[in-house]
């Protein structure tokens, strides 16, 4: 084990700050931060794909799969244990990614985006047709225990928050290490020049496949977390606008640092919450305008404001 570097230190410090601060946050803020962290995981997975030169307009597929996997554990097996739900979600999204990833691995650019979109919309269509799963109304999920220990309602809130925060920190550190590893460094290599990667003896397909699966796993986990936090799931999670929103937050965050997705996600949730409250009739306009401003003035994402090096931080 090497010593943690700056990014990892910030991630760990952030985790401790969150865990300590969370106890004092008002409930609405705790919920908002929990949700932002869970969604940040999805954005982090998009960061990995974007580093590989790929953008998915169908990440809702895994987000929704993870949520429904967790939900069905509760619905069908009557297990309310958060640990079981998350593990099943992780397994299901990985299993689907193993197959879908095979099909996607040879696609790039807009075609990768559109084929992903097609898959997520097929899932959406299937769920809307499933009356047993509540069709578009979805169904509710209740967490009653975590890893065997039963929970009260108040401790559940904090537990889910702590879970999200820990997953976020672990995922950020893990992703940071992965991107710094030889395998992870192939991601930007593939984005820059696939031909050269092949002529160095590595398989571009395999890199894309692996990264797709890692991204799917993170997203599935995030979907399950969201489901537990919100307490309700519906097919909307697979709809293309959900995926589009994640891509937007990813662009907003920038790909410079593994911490950026969480910051971007938090800012986005805040922006939307305030837009809803202060401009209920025109919140879409506020969000759209914010989006344009970021693209115009912060082309490398919000992280550019924080990053010491404007250009690129490995």
């Amino acid at each position: 084990m090497r010593a943690p570097d700056r990014t990892e230190k910030i991630a760990l410090l952030g985790l401790f700050a969150l865990l300590a601060g969370g106890a004092f946050l008002p409930q609405w803020a705790l919920f908002l931060v929990t949700l932002a962290l869970a969604k940040g995981l999805v954005v982090l997975s998009l960061l990995l794909l974007m580093r590989t030169g790929l953008v998915s307009f169908g990440h809702g597929l895994y987000y929704c799969l993870g949520a429904y996997a967790a939900g069905m554990v509760g619905q069908l097996l009557h297990v309310g244990d958060a640990a079981v739900m998350l593990l099943v979600a992780l397994a299901v999204s990985c299993a689907v990614a193993l197959i879908v990833g095979l099909l996607l691995a040879s696609y790039r650019g807009i075609f990768f985006a559109m084929l992903s979109l097609a898959f997520s919309m097929i899932l959406y269509g299937l769920l809307v047709k499933s009356a047993a799963l509540g069709s578009t109304d979805g169904f509710n999920i209740t967490v009653t225990a975590a890893a065997g220990a039963s929970l009260s309602s108040a401790s559940r809130r904090y537990l889910l928050f702590a879970l999200s925060a820990s997953f976020a920190a672990m995922a950020a550190v893990g992703m940071h290490r992965f991107l710094g590893s030889h395998l992870g460094r192939l991601a930007p290599a593939v984005r820059d020049n696939e031909l050269r990667v092949e002529y160095l003896g590595a398989s571009v397909r395999r890199v894309v496949y692996l990264n797709t699966i890692i991204a799917a796993a993170l997203t599935g986990l995030a979907g399950a977390l969201t489901a537990l936090v919100v307490g309700h799931i519906d097919p909307e999670m697979a709809y293309w606008t959900t995926s589009g929103e994640f891509v937007f937050v990813a662009i907003l965050s920038g790909t410079a640092s593994v911490l950026a997705p969480f910051l971007g996600s938090l800012l986005f949730e805040l922006l939307r919450s305030f837009a809803y409250q202060y401009s209920p009739n025109t919140w879409q306009m506020v969000v759209g305008a914010a989006m344009l401003l970021v693209i115009m003035f912060l082309p490398t994402g919000l992280w550019a404001v924080f990053g010491r090096r404007g250009k690129r931080v490995a």
Binding site: Q27, W28, S135, N140, H232, E236, R272, S273, P280
Partner: protein, 426 residues
């Protein structure tokens, strides 16, 4: 085509909302009641449902604060406590709604939440209301699942659930067409459309087991183009076509289906047709069966409250009040009744106890909180057939079905009730 420009309308509403907020006198003895209102302010459901409901809320709250409602509500505020409103757009999906709900309760500190048109949002928000222990009145959503799959202490629904509409529709068409042999449906492909059709189909089959379904079309929400669906409906030659379409989709369907003879060939029943009546007018062919999700709008009883609402709404907004406005009135008047029964300054628990199992007068007649241990309302439902008189669309052959006939008894699930007992209740 003249209509008020919504921008100004919106500004006016904001001004009223802030006026209502500012109205409370400094150092007043009664704490104002802050109500969070959640309805669709954007998206497809805003026009037909969200905005009429919001307008209804504005109108009523203003009148309640001024004490200008007809009796038995002629007193000011909720037992003297003035009301203020906070609006939230219901668009954006359940995740956002749960988030906004928490925000409303914990950051904006509302005393009670009234809202939710989408059943998905109702389902999602109900457990959160329990967790946060906040009195929440669902005013419009339809799915029976909300109180049949769970039981709640803090959540109420002051409109009847949607199975009533389908059962009423089945009763009406079987009476209208005793020789009914073939039915077909066109419903939107989401929970509301699917449930509506399933309930209607099973109700018809319970009443007339020999009836055959020629086709059940489920186009996507907002798809707008029904050419192929209409062909499929026509080629099955059904006696009755059932549709729970609303607003844009409903109007598009009527516009596209009428010239192609669907209405001439079959009796079309539009269970949520009332929201479109005012706009479509004579475009709706004569002989179409229209529902209003209860005794609302054209079907509302001729009582003092209804006369007030009808006039005040039209005077202010230039359009007739449709059922979402009536549903909103039910929620607010139910609350007013409960608050006043609980007494001035009573805690939330007392208000809840007062609301449980209560009954109260509304523009839609008497509402009784009869199901789900007093948390779910029942009301009568009404159907009628259109007839154009001097260019104005009117309803004739109006039939009212008492609440007990079209709603399941306490403790019975809707689906079981339709299958097992509908025949006998008839």
């Amino acid at each position: 085509m003249a209509r008020p420009i919504p921008l100004f309308e919106g500004l006016a509403i904001l001004a009223i909302a802030s006026a209502a907020g500012a109205q409370q006198p400094a150092g007043a003895e009664v704490k104002p009641v802050k109500i969070g209102i959640v309805t669709f302010l954007s998206g497809a459901a805003a026009g037909p449902f969200g905005v009429p409901a919001r307008n209804g809320a504005e109108l009523l709250v203003e009148a309640i604060n001024a004490g200008s409602l007809p009796p038995p509500y002629a007193t000011k505020g909720f037992g003297g406590a003035p009301l203020s409103l906070a609006f939230i757009d219901e668009a954006g999906g359940t995740t956002k709604q749960v988030s906004e709900y928490r925000d409303l309760v914990q950051r904006q500190n509302v005393d009670v939440v009234v809202g939710y048109i989408s059943s998905g949002d109702c389902l999602a928000v109900a457990p959160v209301a329990e967790e946060l222990k906040k009195l929440t009145v669902l005013f419009d959503c339809g799915s029976p699942r909300i109180f049949e799959d769970a039981s709640y202490q803090y959540v109420f629904r002051t409109d009847a659930h949607a199975a009533m509409d389908s059962v009423g529709a089945a009763l009406y068409v079987t009476e209208l067409k005793p020789g009914l042999k073939k039915i077909a449906g066109i419903n939107q492909n989401y929970a509301w459309g699917q449930d509506s059709w399933n309930d209607f189909e099973s109700a018809i089959k319970a009443l007339k087991p020999a009836v055959e379904t020629t086709t059940s079309q489920m186009p996507k929400l907002l798809s707008g183009q029904y050419g192929a669906e209409i062909s499929a409906l026509l080629s099955g030659d059904p006696d009755v076509v059932h549709s729970s379409f609303w607003d844009g989709d409903l109007e598009a369907f009527v516009l596209q289906a009428a010239p192609r003879g669907v209405f001439a060939k079959s009796t079309v029943i539009l269970t949520a047709g009332e929201t479109a009546m005012a706009r479509l007018g004579a475009q709706i062919p004569d002989g179409t069966v229209i529902g209003a999700r209860g005794p609302h709008g054209v079907y509302a009883p001729d009582n003092q409250l209804n006369r007030w609402l009808r006039k005040a709404f039209f005077d202010r907004y230039g359009v007739a009040a449709t059922y979402p406005a009536y549903h909103m009135a039910q929620a607010l008047l139910g609350l007013k009744t409960a608050y006043e029964k609980a007494g001035s300054g009573a805690g939330q628990e007392k208000v809840i106890a007062a609301l449980e199992g209560s009954s109260f007068e509304t523009p839609s007649g008497t509402i009784r909180m009869a199901l789900a241990k007093g948390h779910q309302a029942i009301e009568e439902t009404v159907y009628g057939t259109t007839k154009t008189v001097k260019g104005q669309v009117t309803v004739v052959n109006v039939k009212r079905y008492p609440a007990e006939v079209v709603n399941p008894p306490e403790g019975m699930k809707t689906q079981d009730w339709i299958k097992a007992s509908l025949k006998r209740t008839k």
